[in-house]
């Protein structure tokens, strides 16, 4: 939209996106309490994370299973520096810079190593590398805190105890928590716009051309590996930024919140259900997914209770809130079959003249 010449296209889609963005922008004032704000921050972080994955999957046609690794690198970069150097903006900058550098280097290495060959090979190699990285992170406890992770302190302005405005006009209170949220929100918004710009740039166009027909793109004189590797590095850097923001928001980094394979599955589900190759799908998908994760499970819990009470014990198990991935998995398979362009694709499907 802004700066990119890449509008959402489609009235309902635009309305939906505007609604989500406005609600997210005003979240601290619309919904008091910590849970809704946590949900809103998670939507922001996932929108960025999934959009960066979409750069890879949707635009470059590369399947990577190492995206959580880069997310984790960002999160651990922040956690390790803040834990070691104490809460200061310098430590955050250092952690972020180190994480981005490391993520880019690793992505470059993996890319040069395995992007030459076909999609499947790259997917397998990234899966193996990511699992080794997760094991490594949970074992090097002197550095990463092991399974327990690292809890750290953030600079004073971002702490819940800090009050910028207390009982201001209209009873508004702006605490450090609100400031943290806006740090996350604004960073995500800026980075998202940068990504929208990237996919519309000549580079992004070439990526899409390579995705559609690698031979032809090569025949036209574009170096496939060159472009794919850059896409891989860019996606890794954006994912590391998302990880850093997530760590700052949670004030904690551990294997479960940053490196677990479940996050990778969540990313896959969101990008496919939201719509591959659209970027906007990441926002809609992330909003739906995180809301469903937090509120649909309550609903499933109710169904589970009712079924259990009526004596259908075995069937009830399938509605256990813990089994919600089952239903999402089925939805995932069906969307890959029937709506490969996801929600955004469906909303965009206008009759073409």
């Amino acid at each position: 939209m802004i700066l990119s010449g890449n509008p959402p296209r489609g009235k309902i889609l635009t309305a939906l996106l505007v609604l989500i963005v406005v609600v997210l922008a005003l979240a601290p004032f619309l919904f008091p309490g910590s849970k809704p704000l946590n949900v809103a921050a998670k939507i922001c972080v996932f929108a960025l994370l999934v959009a960066s994955y979409d750069l890879l999957l949707g635009y470059a046609g590369i399947v990577s299973f190492a995206h959580t690794m880069f997310f984790g690198i960002g999160a651990y970069g922040i956690a390790i520096t803040l834990y070691a150097l104490g809460p200061s903006w310098g430590a955050i900058a250092l952690g972020l810079a180190a994480a981005i550098f490391f993520a880019a280097l690793l992505a470059l290495a993996i890319g040069l190593f395995s992007l030459r060959v076909q999609t499947i090979f790259f997917a397998m190699v990234t899966l193996a590398v990511a699992s080794a990285f997760a094991v490594l992170a949970s074992q090097l406890s002197w550095l990463t805190g092991g399974e327990d992770g690292r809890t750290f302190r953030v600079p004073e302005v971002l702490r819940p105890g800090f009050k910028l405005i207390e009982n201001g006009p209209f009873d508004i209170t702006i605490s450090g928590r609100t400031l943290s949220y806006y740090l996350v929100f604004v960073s995500v918004a800026v980075l998202f716009l940068v990504m929208l710009r990237i996919v519309e740039s000549p580079f992004g166009r070439v990526l899409q051309a390579i995705r559609e027909n690698p031979f032809r793109a090569e025949a036209l004189g574009y170096r496939i590996i060159h472009h794919r590797t850059i896409a891989n590095v860019l996606a890794a850097v954006f994912a590391a930024c998302a990880g850093a923001l997530n760590a700052l928001w949670l004030r904690y980094t551990g294997p479960d919140t940053s490196l677990s394979f479940n996050i990778m599955i969540d990313i896959l589900l969101i990008v496919v259900i939201g719509g591959m190759g659209t970027l906007y799908g990441a926002i809609i998908g992330a909003a739906l997914f995180v809301l469903a994760e937090n509120y649909l499970q309550t609903l499933m819990g109710a169904a589970f209770g009712a079924l259990n009470a009526s004596g259908a014990g075995f069937i009830a198990n399938f509605f256990n809130p813990d089994r919600w991935l089952l239903w999402l998995g089925i939805l995932f398979i069906l969307s890959v079959y029937f709506f490969p362009t996801g929600i955004v694709g469906k909303l965009r499907a206008e009759p073409k003249s």
């Binding site: 399947v63 499947i120 397998m124 075995f314 256990n320 998995g329 890959v336």
Partner: protein
């Protein structure tokens, strides 16, 4: 015409590709290098046998995957699901046969084990048929969708297992006669590992026999090399593929049962864990090569055991290190079969 006459001539030796023996030597070299590092011969024997047993089980799980890829260019990211299904078959079957399992005699233990193995293979073969029909066939030829769909299949099957059996760890005690270890000279070897080696060798032997000595195997190998030509000659490669997919799933189920017994517990997460290991193994071996997969499995398991003994921290990344080393040496694996 002359070509036909000469090929029917018994005296003429057909041109043959040179057999590449260097990869075969790798596990031997690794074992020999490890001997002085480990120091004690008995410990080394124990570690080597443990590695062989582990390698055999991994091979059983991975062989189907590599064949399916070689034959049809389909990489099944949900292969691990069959491993988990095999493990749960063990849980279900062993429960009513507790008496046979706890008996002291090996024969009654095997009376319980063998039907369980056969059942595990039948169930996973059936699951493989459904999986192929519902998930793989509609996206045949589209790599990206294949990866996504089969991954989705893994998630769904894993969740179905959780829903049916509960999220807890299911203890799976070894049969009584297979517990403990026997001593070979100064080395002590766990009995179950010996059984695993025997089962693994039978699987490898049966696979090699089918692939190299039967017409079916000839067709499969030809299909791996050039599927279109096999089809042009009038064979239905799709049926062949379904058969191979089912057989591969059955082997994964067998491997899953053996692996669950080895760990003495069954849990649905075993599927995801083994997916990574099997991928590394078939990448090392060269996608599509059964022999390479066998060597890869043994190499990986041996290295994991030696490294676990010598430097436990290193063992965590030994798999990846091995994969990187092999790929630097041979970028397409030990035995590159397909041109893909």
């Amino acid at each position: 015409m002359t070509a036909i006459q000469t090929s029917s001539d018994a005296g003429v030796v057909l041109p043959q590709q040179k057999t590449d023996y260097i990869p075969v030597l790798l596990p031997l070299i690794l074992a020999l290098v490890a001997l002085p590092l480990v120091g004690s011969f008995s410990t080394w024997t124990t570690l080597t046998l443990a590695g062989l047993a582990m390698g055999m089980m991994i091979f059983a799980m991975a062989s189907g995957l590599t064949l399916v890829f070689g034959l049809m260019d389909v990489m099944n990211f949900g292969h691990g699901a069959f491993v988990a299904v095999g493990a749960y078959v063990a849980v279900v079957v062993f429960a009513p046969m507790a008496a046979l399992m706890q008996s002291d005699s090996l024969s009654s233990n095997l009376m319980a084990m063998i039907p369980a193995m056969i059942l595990a293979m039948l169930v996973t073969a059936a699951a493989g048929y459904l999986f192929e029909r519902l998930l793989v066939r509609p996206v045949y030829g589209q790599h990206l969708k294949q990866i996504l769909i089969t991954m989705g299949g893994l998630i769904v099957i894993e969740q179905l297992l959780y829903a049916s059996f509960g999220p807890q760890l299911n203890p799976l005690p070894l049969p009584t006669a297979l517990r403990g270890s026997i001593s070979l000279g100064a080395a002590s070897v766990e009995k179950y590992r010996l059984l695993a080696v025997v089962v693994g060798l039978i699987v490898f032997g049966a696979l090699q026999f089918t692939l190299t000595r039967t017409k079916l195997g000839l067709l499969i190998r030809a299909g791996v090399e050039n599927g279109e030509m096999v089809e042009a000659l009038g064979y239905r490669i799709r049926r062949l593929f379904v058969g191979v997919f089912m057989a591969g799933s059955a082997l994964a189920g067998l491997g899953g049962l053996m692996w669950a017994l080895y760990r003495e517990q069954a849990h649905a997460s075993i599927g995801g864990e083994m997916t990574v290991t099997t991928f590394i193994v078939i990448i090392i071996g060269g996608l599509g090569s059964v022999g390479g997969c066998f060597i890869g499995s043994i190499l990986l398991a041996l290295l994991a055991n030696y490294a676990g003994f010598l430097a436990p921290k290193v063992a965590l990344v030994s798999n990846i290190a091995l994969m990187v080393a092999i790929l630097l040496w041979r970028p397409r694996g030990l035995y590159p079969v397909t041109s893909r």
